[in-house]
Symmetry: C2
Subunit: 213 residues, 2 copies
């Protein structure tokens, strides 16, 4: 028998909500497969709308991707700044600061996302000074805590921060791959172990002592 043509009621969001839900979907797909593989129809299906609805909110594909990237980069930035801001000058150690940097980069898949962005050459052309800012914060902490006789140079701190960032990215991107091909069984535990090991190493490098007990 012929089914009655009873269409399901059409869902209607306000523009802001729609944009947010769409960007969420875009971000997830970007993280998974990168910008070049993004299909508007897929995103639309994720959200549960037709593909012209997506175009209605963002104009075209390029703008859609740009919007998602901008939001992600801003998110990472506040994630980082927020994490650092929590570091009370005298309550927290550099060890905490390092942990927070690593956390911020990996949370919400920011590292993987940023890897896609940079590889694709889509990073916002903002000549931002975020890294310089982070470095400055770490350096101040370091100078307070250090046991090194010639006071550490900012250049040295910069390299250390760079190393932390690289390691975080490396783990986020190659971590599973490398561990799998190393025959490690408990990947999650191993990730944590590496992180602690790195934090200790960097801490020793920064303030010159690895066991303060």
């Amino acid at each position: 028998m012929a089914a009655r043509k009873s269409k399901p009621p059409r869902q209607r969001r306000d523009a802001e909500t729609a944009r947010r839900e769409i960007l969420d979907a875009v971000e997830a797909r970007l993280r998974q497969s990168g910008p070049a593989a993004l299909r508007i129809a897929d995103v639309a299906a994720d959200v549960g709308v037709s593909h012209p609805a997506v175009l209605h909110h963002f104009g075209n594909r390029e703008e859609l991707i740009r919007a998602a990237i901008t939001r992600a980069v801003d998110g990472l930035q506040s994630q980082l700044v927020e994490g650092m801001a929590q570091a009370k000058p005298d309550a927290d150690s550099t060890l905490d600061v390092i942990g927070r940097l690593l956390d911020g980069l990996e949370r919400k898949g920011y590292a993987r996302m940023l890897a896609w962005i940079v590889l694709s050459g889509l990073e916002p052309e903002t000549p931002d000074s975020r890294i310089a800012f982070m470095t400055q914060l770490v350096h101040e902490k370091r100078c307070q805590e250090t046991a090194l006789d010639p006071p550490p140079t900012l250049q040295d701190t910069r390299k250390t921060v760079l190393l932390i960032a690289y390691a975080a990215f490396g783990q986020a991107i190659f971590g599973d791959f490398v561990l799998r091909s190393s025959g490690v069984s408990d990947v999650k535990t191993e990730r944590e172990a590496f992180r602690r090991w790195l934090a200790d190493l960097v801490h020793a490098q920064l303030v010159g002592s690895t066991d303060p007990t």
Copy 2:
């Protein structure tokens, strides 16, 4: 006046040469923009043939990419193994070994290429033990040279090797981006400086002394 239809002579390579030239072009494009953005027609244009010629040699797009990736991964492998093999047990120090690891990863854009591969989830499913092998080599060197009293564990060496790999990848992918946004003027020099700094740091970590003079 109507131009005479004088076709340029058709160039004809043997299959092996054609495949190699095509794979060269694919590799370059892969390194630049990744697998998802690869267009057969572009590759064909690079080589100077029509796009069906490319398909003739590789069957389809997927096989083409697979072939390029396989060749690249094999190349990286021999690059690495070769570099390590040069390390005479008693002539070279861990410092040299570290340098060689970094070199091998960055040479020919292997790091960037591998980043695309891993991000795209296209790594060959070979349960290879390359990393374990590298780790073993480094560990042996380390045990010979170390000044640490409790002999270093293999686990610790493994983490160190991991860190080197991560840093190499990080620099290859994010290096320019990060340095640019740090306001560094001479990028090339800074890259070198970081590498030396990292080699020293890791060396100290591995054999327990940073200034053997």
